[in-house]
Symmetry: C2
Subunit: 483 residues, 2 copies
Amino acid sequence: MAPVKISIIGAGSAVFSMRLVNDLCKTKGLAGSLVSLMDVDEQRLNGVHELASRYVRELGADLRFEKTTSLETCLHEADFVINTALVGGHAYLNKVRAIGEKHGYYRGIDAQELNMVTDYCTITNFNQLKFFVDVARLMEKICPNAWLLQTANPVFEGTNLISRCSNIKVVGFCHGHYGVIEMAEALGLDENKMDWQVAGFNHAIWLNRFIYDGRNGYELLEKWIQEGNLEKWRPKNPFDLQMSPAAIDMYRFYGIMPIGDTVRNSTWYYNKDFETKKKWYGEPWGGPDSEEGWKWYEQQLKTTTDAIDFLSKNRTLKLLSLNTYLKFLPKGAVPVEMKKEVEVFSSPDKLSGEQHIPFIDSLVNNNARRFVINVPNEGYIEGVPNGVFVEVPAIVDKDGWHVEKIEPKLTDKVLRFYLWPRMMRMEWALHAIMNGDKAALIEFLMRDPRTKTLEQAKAVIEEILNLPENQQMKTHYEKGLKL
Amino acid sequence: MAPVKISIIGAGSAVFSMRLVNDLCKTKGLAGSLVSLMDVDEQRLNGVHELASRYVRELGADLRFEKTTSLETCLHEADFVINTALVGGHAYLNKVRAIGEKHGYYRGIDAQELNMVTDYCTITNFNQLKFFVDVARLMEKICPNAWLLQTANPVFEGTNLISRCSNIKVVGFCHGHYGVIEMAEALGLDENKMDWQVAGFNHAIWLNRFIYDGRNGYELLEKWIQEGNLEKWRPKNPFDLQMSPAAIDMYRFYGIMPIGDTVRNSTWYYNKDFETKKKWYGEPWGGPDSEEGWKWYEQQLKTTTDAIDFLSKNRTLKLLSLNTYLKFLPKGAVPVEMKKEVEVFSSPDKLSGEQHIPFIDSLVNNNARRFVINVPNEGYIEGVPNGVFVEVPAIVDKDGWHVEKIEPKLTDKVLRFYLWPRMMRMEWALHAIMNGDKAALIEFLMRDPRTKTLEQAKAVIEEILNLPENQQMKTHYEKGLKL
Ligand SMILES: NC(=O)c1ccc[n+]([C@@H]2O[C@H](COP(=O)([O-])OP(=O)(O)OC[C@H]3O[C@@H](n4cnc5c(N)ncnc54)[C@H](O)[C@@H]3O)[C@@H](O)[C@H]2O)c1
Ligand SMILES: NC(=O)c1ccc[n+]([C@@H]2O[C@H](COP(=O)([O-])OP(=O)(O)OC[C@H]3O[C@@H](n4cnc5c(N)ncnc54)[C@H](O)[C@@H]3O)[C@@H](O)[C@H]2O)c1
């Protein structure tokens, strides 16, 4: 159980900061380790660092936390680096989406066929993608043997870009596969009796195996549908879409179930406008990636960052006590997800469900566990070139990851009508940024059904390149620089 | 020089009948061979057979022609089978195109991104595609060692379909690569000083190598453009588009020149409507695949079939005399291409330029020659899965084809923005027909910018399935039958 150094870049992340701190403090196998928190936002950084230090003490865990705004310091002698940074933050996402909509691109130009997730940009986010590569190349100098756990989006484009621009060991992480558990709950199944596999790309995974108690699990899904549950289905929140009309319609076409965020990443047929999104993803939000759904999500994130800020400033508050949080949270109906998060934080042993820290523990302490991770394809998924990152189930132990044999194979239609078109756009995005190819950015939009004229496509790209925070992007694409 | 049996299916083809007869009669190495002409249209069959017999006599060639309307008879003991049939003829193409346009699909539903060629259908032509497979499977029984020279379109979807539904030796043939010669003429170059290669898929080939007299040939192309030739360019006929604004615009984006029909197979940006086509492919036709361009082409085909009919009925006319033809052809300006054809037919030794017969001679008589043919990829083009048919230069001799090393490689953008999207649609079409998957046909249109609603896509597919000649197609797709 040699202690390790774990560095978190973008440690102020609303989504991940407290979950990672929670898991780190409750993983005995990492005792004696050093956790380096890094962010450019000192207020957030101090908040997380303050809470982490108190949390460690309350839990009696043997862990040291340091904080820095310097990437170099953070990476110094790191064994594991977790990137959860969002360069430019949500403010930038909202700004470029508004520009896109002004030019006739509903939900912005980054919303693309099979890639509708609002914070999963591939065209306007040069700064974010460049930062991924900067981190990897800095790691090559400072901690060449360290693992990079890529969590910031876009994980698919990001892991492929990093592996083509550096030779750092990179693994992509997500929690989309928990959609399988959501489905089990909806079907009233006992998780432990389920033999399942998912495979595909990040935010593009499909339930290739679903056996329940030795029987074909899909029969139970058909039964659920026949019993009229689909008509009765209502979303509890914008992210509750595993059993939505969109998921079932995609299941009908592709032959197996789309899991987690894959349901969000459908074609324009399901996302043309707000009314269409509500038809397929349920009222009132129309899924997470509509005007209403994303507003709900940003409110959630704000509640989290406010909570961290509040708790970090009230040093007397006990973190391991439930009512510390409940007192703070808004009176109205606290979404069940938020409640669960609070129960986890305030418990002495519950983990967040994120895979990062258990993954590190499996590697460091040879505690073999099953994960769903993004690694370069090596024949795991036929029809996908080797080297392209695929999201597959794997057992992880001290020798690394051992991907399970994907059995039964993904259906023909998932490969040809889903994975290939999605992979093609990843390659377009990587070609554009790795060669500073502005014409490629424009061509992306020329093949987009929302584009009516070349002038429309050029104008929206120009306006985004001319944003003050995009000076480096503008030079990169004006001069056709290599990444 | 063992004599062989060469079978031509669809021998009445306006495009190919006389060209193949011409080459067969003038290829000494095939002396003593038997040519079996097969067609379902007896009038055309008799016409071609009559002309072929007289042609042989006038040339003093040692060749026997037989005719039959039976596919089995035609294939009996065949060594080479050339398929130039168009099941349903141009009449069917025009009918389904009109239906498509009625439903809002300009140029019909078979016109697709990067596949605009009017007689290159992939969605509505179940009968044509099924016929390809029927021929191949019948060959497996009757002449399993024979070569199938696939010429009828779609050659790309056809060769891939045949190789997945049978294990017949199939090679795809086209004459698009002669666009390189057209470019040489436009640049005022001596063909023999050109070191060139093209590579890609059928109707999707790119000039990856262009060296002239030891220098980078593309410098000469840039010079041609700088000298203002592009502005002065005017098409001599609808098929004259190698140096059109569309070709040059694609060259600018992809970095190398699109060759031959590849220029026709551009995105909707160049083909949105007739005005757009005229802007990119020149006045007055707007290229071959516009309303006007295709009308011109059908008139050409009619002139040819009428000529065959006329000459076959006037037995005293000498075929090897030029004015036999000139007297017959319409008074007005005979397009230069038609003149060239007549000069070839009436000469005792000139060949048509088609590759089929020289290919057979190279194989049978070990006369090594260079061809551009469609064969399964075996690493020739990186990034294209092995087994997918690629159109590449190869030396052919008694041992078969030896594909040249493709050097320099195709550009990154040709692979990602052209070959992959085109290959993806081939796979969609093959999945649909091989599984009788009607939902896949509809999905094809749901990802088409001309489609506004699901009802629109369903209605046009329904109307085509309900055509009297498509009863078998309707059953195939209603019942989801395997091919
Ligand atoms: N993989 C997954 O399962 C998953 C799930 C949700 C979100 N995400 C992604 O995680 C990322 C963070 O999301 P969030 O909603 O928590 O965003 P956030 O804005 O709340 O947090 C991002 C953090 O990154 C910091 N940051 C910005 N630029 C930085 C830089 N140059 N160096 C260091 N830190 C920097 C910000 O200050 C902020 O603290 C996003 O990319 C999001 O899409 C991934
Ligand atoms: N590969 C190339 O270079 C190239 C170039 C031009 C055209 N083509 C293709 O060649 C084919 C013929 O084109 P065309 O314009 O000469 O068409 P066409 O209609 O003039 O000739 C097609 C012939 O096929 C015959 N036919 C139809 N059904 C048949 C069947 N079941 N069995 C036998 N014969 C049958 C017709 O009677 C006709 O004589 C088309 O598919 C066209 O797209 C290929």
